[in-house]
Amino acid sequence: MRMKNGLFVIAVALGVGIAFLIPTSGNGQDAAPKGDAPKDGGKGGFGKGGGKGKGPVVPAGPMPRLPDGHPDMQGYWNGPAVTDVQAPGRGGAPGTIVDPADGKIPFTPAEAAKIKETREHDAVDEPTLHCFETGVPKNMWIQFGFQILQDPTHFVVLHEIMHQVRIINLDNRPHIPANVHLFQGDSIGHWDGDTLVVETTNHGDKNWYDDTGTAKPQTVHVVERFIPVDANTITLESTMTDPTAYTQPWTARVTLRRANAMMPDGSRDYEQMEFACVEGNADLDHYTEDKGGKKKVVRVPTAKQ
């Protein structure tokens, strides 16, 4: 955008800097959007990506269905901005973990020591500062909305932040070779009744679960369950299993809410904007050293040089 650098700074300040410092509601406590009845009757179906006209795209009621009978979750959604996956989050935020009951990640002692080191000294590794993709499962928990697109063999999540795209294949293919690692991991999904179950492996080693240093092991096996609640609400449960890092599986639960919105000028349905990050990234300059003075930012030529 023409105001790209300014917008970017604002975006990063909102998405990272402030998120780093200020507690937010940890579990999507915002009210569901309200509005007039849709002009298009909220038609679902393959190829009906969103609606037309003013008002909410999808009316209250049950989740629409695709011609093949599966839930139609297409459209724009918001997840909660989770700054700390564990309870209590900053400022006493509730966290997202529903199992175990204490809201804490059941780290092995060795993993706990690694996380402590990351939290105390590696703030500069916060992935968003580097314009890295946020990865699974965090990408469903971050500020900035996302769009879901479905076809019979794909469930695609298009994020505004980092213009990251996550392609979930629904064709029962095997996972990719174990030595291949991706920021978004390798996601393969299937339907369990009306619930979309997605298994993700092959993670990268630069991703965190939140903004506060809870690093994610590459070896974790993530199972997400997208459970439609009603037309405008999805419950997302993410279960992380990794015997090398956790003494038992743990599960986070968040609520995704449909963004039934128009563009601010009312001329059209909501559209996601280009999110230029690398192109305007001056934010790393603020993190020349972390607060412990132990680790310095790796310098590569940026937009300012």
Partner: protein, 265 residues
């Protein structure tokens, strides 16, 4: 279930097939042969463009005919109009292209992991996946996880904003997807060789299927600040048919940081 050897063979066969198809379909790909192939319809009722595609040829090196150079293949160019293989630069615009070429290691923003712009994203040498709905077409590239949303809802271009990859509004003309792209900045090039544009760039793309696993990509480009007239580039594209094909990732900034840290991997 194929074993790895079979998959490798399948991959080779796929690209061999692609090469054969390229020669077989050359007349339709580069001429006026549209309509000779009737594509299957997708579930949105339009020609099915879905799948993982990749450009074939040298457009990413240089859209204009030129000799080989360090990191750039020799090419007869992808310019199909005007004839002659050259871009219709204004006389005073060629010097900047030449300077871009000479200093491309520093000036090519793709070397800094910036977005490559349109049309370069489509032929820069990375596969991309197309998804369709009645309201938009998504083009998701393996390069820097960039995706384009091509709106099909008859909306006009946004006003007062510009983008690296432009603002894409599409429509179907029969079985051809036609995309009008505007609202560009002046930070991107057409190729590795320094061919460039201004913020007055306007691109009209045409995606036309030419066989079960091929399509022709055409981009008609106007930029009155840089060129004396509109020109058209034509690039053949082929579908990845390996049974395990999927988009992977080229996370450019991550690899740059690894190199800068002395930790290439």
């Amino acid at each position: 279930m194929l074993d790895m050897t079979d998959r490798f063979t399948a991959r080779i066969c796929s690209w061999t097939t692609a090469a054969v198809l390229l020669s077989v379909t050359a007349s339709s790909a580069f001429g006026q042969g549209r309509g000779a192939f009737t594509p299957a319809k997708g579930w949105d009722g339009h020609a099915d463009l879905t799948g993982i595609w990749e450009a074939f040829g040298t457009a990413g090196d240089s859209v204009e005919a030129r000799n080989a150079a360090q990191g750039i293949r020799a090419t007869l160019g992808s310019v199909t109009d005007p004839p002659g293989g050259l871009l219709p630069y204004k006389p005073d615009a060629v010097a900047k292209r030449n300077a871009n070429f000479k200093n491309r290691a520093q000036l090519d923003s793709v070397n800094k992991c910036y977005m490559p712009g349109v049309p370069r994203l489509m032929y820069m040498g990375y596969p991309f996946q197309i998804f369709q709905s009645s309201k938009f077409v998504i083009v998701a590239s393996e390069y820097m996880h960039i995706y384009r949303t091509i709106y099909l809802d008859n909306t006009k271009h946004l006003e007062g904003v510009d983008f690296y990859n432009g603002d894409s509004r599409g429509r179907w003309e029969g079985d051809t997807l036609v995309v009008d792209v505007a609202n560009f900045n002046d930070q991107t090039w057409f190729d590795k060789a320094g061919n460039y544009h201004s913020d007055a760039l306007h691109v009209v793309e045409r995606f036309t299927r030419t066989s079960p696993d091929s399509m022709t990509y055409q981009a008609t480009i106007e930029d009155p600040k840089v060129f004396t007239r509109a020109f058209t580039i034509t690039v053949p594209m082929f579908r990845h048919t390996e049974p395990n094909a999927r988009l992977l990732e080229y996370e450019c900034q991550s690899y740059r940081e690894d190199e800068a840290a002395g930790n290439p991997r």
